[in-house]
């Protein structure tokens, strides 16, 4: 461009683009691979479609408004066995307990790991511990929880059996173990979000004389609120969907059975059921064997999970780096926050 204005600007160069390569020219084996990819993608869509349609058809066919307001009743006739009011309330209670414990704990842990993290060896150990939680089967967590909550000094969280031993099964017990289950998801989301906040934001805050703690509280956490919320929603999805912890730690009475006379605490110390354990009980594998009720409850459960799923998408949608699967990916890999760097 040194010659400057004297030379007329050349016409736009004519670029002969080769036609987009079609797979027709590929060797046969490559073409087979290509078509297999297409087939798998479509097959996955079809499987998902089949699942959703099946659950919709069965769910709507057996769903009655009365099911939402009636308590389960022990009966062999499906018309007599009541609805799933108690399981819905149970799901709400368990999710509430789990979230109330896991959300602050998860955020605090993530803040500690990424903003303080000293000594380094302790931080590594905590990261591994969270990894272990993410990998441990929930049924193992459940039987560990049963052991812990059967200790006599934790008797106030459940009820005492006739022979003086502690029952160990209650809403408190199940909710607390659920919090452990949801912890890695919340830690993972928060950590990734914190890692994405540029250092200059922190430096600007320090330059204004804010301490580290107040930078975290008033600058960092507010800026990553959507990601924290999406982590919490993912955790709630995990809690709502888990069955093993419920069947082992909530004592499978279908209705909510309180303990003692204190209204709220009594319920929480007592046993009950959730939608997942209700579905399990009413499936042919459980004791109730009322498939119609199981379908209806599973449909409600699926709707709850889909709603939480949609919430995650809304919270993270658009702004998210790394495509729309990254929330899911993050949920799976609690330890490595940045997908790419």
């Amino acid at each position: 461009m040194e010659a400057g204005g004297l030379v007329p600007a050349p016409a736009r160069p004519i670029i002969v683009r080769p036609r987009r390569q079609s797979s027709a020219s590929w060797p046969l084996i490559d073409r087979i691979g290509y078509w297999l990819c297409w087939a798998t993608g479509i097959a996955l869509c079809l499987i998902a479609l089949a699942i959703v349609v099946f659950m919709f058809v069965k769910g709507i066919a057996y769903l009655r408004p009365a099911l939402f307001v009636k308590s389960p009743a022990p009966s062999l006739q499906q018309s007599q066995s009541g609805g799933f009011l108690d399981p819905i309330v149970g799901t709400l209670i368990i999710t509430a307990i789990g979230t109330v414990i896991a959300a602050p704990a998860g955020v605090a842990l993530a803040v500690w790991i990424s903003e303080y993290g000293r000594p380094v060896s302790l931080a590594r150990a905590v990261e591994s511990a969270i990894d272990v939680i993410a990998g441990v089967p929930s049924v193992v967590l459940a039987i560990f929880g049963l052991l812990v909550f059967s200790e006599s000094f934790l008797g106030f969280l459940s009820q005492n059996a006739v022979n003086g031993s502690v029952y160990g099964r209650s809403f408190f017990a199940a909710g607390i173990v659920m919090a452990i289950l949801a912890l890695p998801l919340i830690v993972g989301s928060t950590r990734e979000a914190l890692a994405q906040v540029p250092d200059r934001v922190r430096e600007a805050s320090y330059a204004l004389g804010k301490s580290r703690a107040s930078t975290i509280r008033w600058v960092l956490l507010p800026s990553i609120r959507p990601q924290i919320a999406s982590g919490i929603a993912l955790g709630m999805g995990r809690i709502v969907g888990d069955t093993a912890i419920i069947t082992i730690l909530l004592g499978v009475t279908l209705t909510t059975e309180g303990v003692g006379s204190v209204p709220l605490i009594g319920t929480l110390r007592g046993t009950g059921s959730t939608l997942t354990s209700y579905v399990y009980n009413n499936s042919p594998a459980g004791e109730g064997n009322a498939p119609q009720k199981a379908y209806a409850a599973a449909f409600v459960l699926l709707m709850v999970v889909l709603a939480l799923n949609a919430l995650v998408t809304r919270l993270t949608g658009g702004r998210e780096r790394g495509g729309r699967l990254s929330a899911l990916r993050r949920a799976l890999a609690s330890r490595r926050p940045e997908w790419t760097r």
Binding site: I216, T243, L301
Partner: protein, 326 residues
Amino acid sequence: MPRRSGRSEDQRTERMLGALAIAVLVLIGAMIVTVFVNAWPSFSSNGLSWFGPGGNVDTQLRAMQESTPLPGHDISYFRAWPLIWGTLLTTVFAVVLALVVSILAAVFLTEFAPAPVRRTLEPVIRLLAGVPSVVYGLIGILALAPLINQHLISNARKQSVAYVVQLNGADLTTATVILAVMITPIMVALIAGALESVPLPWREGSVALGVNRWRTIVRVSLRTARPAIVAATVLATARALGEAIMLAMVSGGRGFAANPLDGLTFLFEPVRPLAATIVQQSEGLTIAPLAHTIYAMAAVLLVSAALLSFAGWAAKQPLKQYGIRA
């Protein structure tokens, strides 16, 4: 926001958060120790043959539940092989099936799918990952199992093994298929992420050399992402190992060691993995010998999960040299 003395506030915050971190560490340590301490009586009285074959697991578990020792054996006599075998079969079959499907699906998602298809497929994968396991179990037991029972298992086949086991559709095949559907989305998400982060110039270089897109994917993208594929497989294996409720519902519920010598019938024999057994026997946690046995199964699961988690971490190390963080 009134500013208090910043430094002491900082130290207080750090100490509080650090204490929480230590609490989590202690909790996990306590869990591992507790499970092993409770598992020890079962391991020590059976020795290494705990893992071996010998007799019917269900009879052994019932003997413990009823506190009546089997003739000629100790009360805590237990041979877990049928359960371990069931775990291995369901896990390996499902993971192999899911691996093939998810590599193809991930390649499709990142390379071939037109934008609208991609926009549909991503929510679909998230949906499949979000469905609770009990719903999968319900679909398996009420839809897939009867289908397999009616169309794939002939009466002759049922009679051929009728003297040892009944075939009713709740079997290895149903368990494998549903388990594969459950773990595929996890693997697709992880593998697709790794494929996306293969540096574009590498692929462009390959295409510029005249290699077609498919070969570029196989030779460059998939090869670079191989550690991530291994890591995804490991993670999915951990999920499959720990899946309890769905397998308790669809795998047939009998502690039967499906026998490959039965030919194709093998695929239709019931199995029951370790995690599912824990759920089904959880009522017996108050009876000492049975509880020890259950904790022993949990210990086996815990060790496998920890080993897998370490393997996944180790498998990912090579990716770091490319600057890919998976």
